[in-house]
């Protein structure tokens, strides 16, 4: 559907996807600060959010540079409305339960890490540099979320149930990760972005093994929810942005 920017090879769209994923997931995680089930988790959610916001800054700054219209990372984060956001629908799901937050993090991390590993070989050095800077953080995110999925899946009956329910609820949102047809095919052809199948294989392998260790079943639905990468979001994103962008919207041009 997308790759609007013919001139830039669709690179701007891709960079928005990377940046918006980090921004929106960072936001959702940060909603737990001070409210997590254990002090160690308070620290962990803040830490993951912090990493993701740092990565957001890098991706969106590069996006602004590629676009060439003088927009800063903050302009892109704070002054776009929902239909210009390119994050996965998965990441804007509300935090109905800490288990859901963890499962979402796990499903995303398992995509994020092979994606970054692929991007480390990007023919665009700026992309490779950002991936290089992010990959260690994300490897840690995946290590942590996998560990928790396994321990809670193979934990009490209640924690098992919650993990399985969250997995079932979120599964239909994962397919969107591997649909690269909204990207300009030349991005992959020219080696800027790894091939979808490469990332999908790594994801599937990791997720399957982890769920097995967690005694959780792979949901069977083949139904895929899509739209995030085309800017067709859920009703939740508008509320999230209204909150996130309030100060920049209410006091335009102010310096903070």
């Amino acid at each position: 559907m997308a790759y609007k920017g013919k001139a830039d090879n669709g690179l701007f769209e891709f960079l928005l996807q990377m940046g918006d994923n980090c921004l929106i997931l960072g936001h959702r995680n940060s909603e737990w600060c001070g409210h997590a089930p254990a002090l160690e988790e308070d620290i962990a959610v803040a830490n993951v959010s912090l990493d993701l916001i740092g990565q957001t800054q890098m991706w969106l700054e590069l996006a602004g540079e590629v676009e060439g219209a003088g927009r800063s990372a903050d302009d892109l984060a704070y002054l776009r409305d929902a239909f210009d956001f390119r994050n996965l629908l998965l990441l804007e799901r509300p935090n109905t339960d800490f288990g859901l937050t963890l499962v979402r993090q796990f499903l995303f991390d398992a995509w994020h890490l092979p994606m970054l590993r692929g991007l480390m070989n990007s023919t665009d050095k700026r992309i490779a540099d950002i991936a290089e800077k992010s990959v260690k953080e994300v490897a840690y995110h995946l290590e942590r979320s996998t560990d928790l999925i396994i321990r809670l899946g193979d934990g009490s009956a209640e924690s098992h149930r919650r993990m399985q329910d969250s997995l079932n609820e979120l599964w239909s949102y994962t397919g969107e990760m591997f649909e690269f047809d909204d990207l300009n095919p030349s991005l992959v052809a020219e080696g800027l972005v790894p091939a979808a199948a490469e990332v999908a294989d790594a994801w599937k392998q990791h997720v399957t093994a982890a769920l097995k260790a967690a005694t959780l079943s792979l949901p069977e639905t083949g139904f895929i929810r899509r739209g995030g990468k085309d800017g067709i979001h859920s009703e939740h994103l508008g509320f999230l942005l209204a909150e996130m962008q309030f100060l920049q919207r209410a006091y335009p041009g102010a310096s903070w």
């Binding site: 002090l39 308070d42 916001i53 800054q57 321990r151 809670l152 934990g155 209640e158 909150e243």
Partner: protein, 312 residues
């Protein structure tokens, strides 16, 4: 004083550190548990007023700085709970005391953060007052507490600078931002002064705590020091301290200032602050809502233990 108590006091007087497994008077232990756990609870609850603005931070950089700060606070909580645990109380017991209202946390966190400038004011004034309290505690007599304080103070002074920087941006910004900055100072000034506790003449436990070097300075000394440090900073920012009595007193070598409204202090302490109920409820909800999570991890640990025992 028993000979044991005398020997204990002599070690303290000689600036020796008391360590967890050593003998100590029951009163010393109890006072320390109360003080350290209260301090730990303050770090825990202190996440809430600042956490309130994370999702609304005005730039990505400010959001990252605030996240790092709130993360540090949770970390401080962790050090302090661990320090208290060395005195024979568990973290769960301390949480229970917090949730039942038996244990207190710093009343300052019962005030709301209403604008972005409040995040600046919390860093500048609240962390500023906290540091004033904490720096001397690096020399406190109980080893684990003193060592926790060393780590904490280093980070807190960083937070204070960040808070001051937010205030600087606001105070030199647009009219609306200046107004927010002044408004934040107006609301946080007296509550910050209250953070040092009532005047020493009204403070019951002070003398014994000072002899034990659990407390190093008097409340009034610290408050004066805080005012003397803060008044010039406010002037530098172009903001007005909301106390007409503030002026330099050459004779005493410090500023004159008005006492905070101690009735308000005791009223907030008794539960009638703007956010007491919400702060405590947020913690209780987090704890109750997270029970399945903690139980799940414990169930997993028990399984693994069984498995490894079977394997052995």
């Amino acid at each position: 004083m028993t000979p044991e108590e005398r020997a204990f006091q002599e070690r303290i007087d000689a600036d020796q550190k008391i360590e967890p497994k050593e003998w100590m008077p029951e009163g010393y232990r109890k006072t320390l548990v109360r003080q350290i756990s209260q301090h730990a609870h303050s770090e825990l609850v202190g996440q809430l007023p600042e956490g309130n603005w994370i999702t609304r931070a005005p730039t990505l950089e400010r959001k990252a700085i605030l996240l790092a700060k709130v993360q540090d606070e949770a970390g401080h909580g962790l050090y302090l709970y661990c320090a208290a645990e060395t005195l024979g109380i568990s973290r769960d017991e301390m949480f229970e005391q917090l949730h039942s209202g038996k244990a207190k946390y710093s009343s300052i966190f019962n005030y709301p953060t209403l604008t972005w400038a409040d995040i600046g004011a919390v860093g500048w004034l609240v962390d500023g007052a906290a540091i004033m309290n904490q720096v001397p505690l690096q020399r406190t007599s109980y080893g684990p507490y003193a060592r926790a304080m060393v780590r904490i103070c280093k980070e807190e002074s960083f937070h204070q600078r960040q808070g001051f920087h937010i205030m600087m941006k606001m105070a030199s910004g647009s009219e609306a931002q200046k107004r927010m900055a002044q408004d934040a100072l107006n609301r946080f000034w007296y509550p910050s002064l209250m953070m040092f506790g009532p005047s020493d003449k009204d403070s019951v436990h002070s003398a014994q705590s000072m002899a034990w070097k659990i407390k190093i300075n008097t409340n009034d000394e610290l408050r004066q020091k805080f005012v003397d440090q803060t008044v010039p900073q406010a002037k530098y920012l172009g903001l007005t301290v909301p106390d007409e009595a503030v002026q330099w007193n050459e004779e005493k070598g410090g500023h004159d200032f008005s006492e905070p409204d101690w009735d308000e202090f005791f009223s907030v302490l008794a539960g009638n602050g703007p956010c007491n109920k919400e702060r405590l409820q947020a913690r209780v909800d987090a704890w109750d809502g997270g029970e399945w999570f903690r139980d799940g991890l414990m169930a997993n640990a028990a399984k693994n233990k069984n498995t490894s025992e079977e394997a052995a």
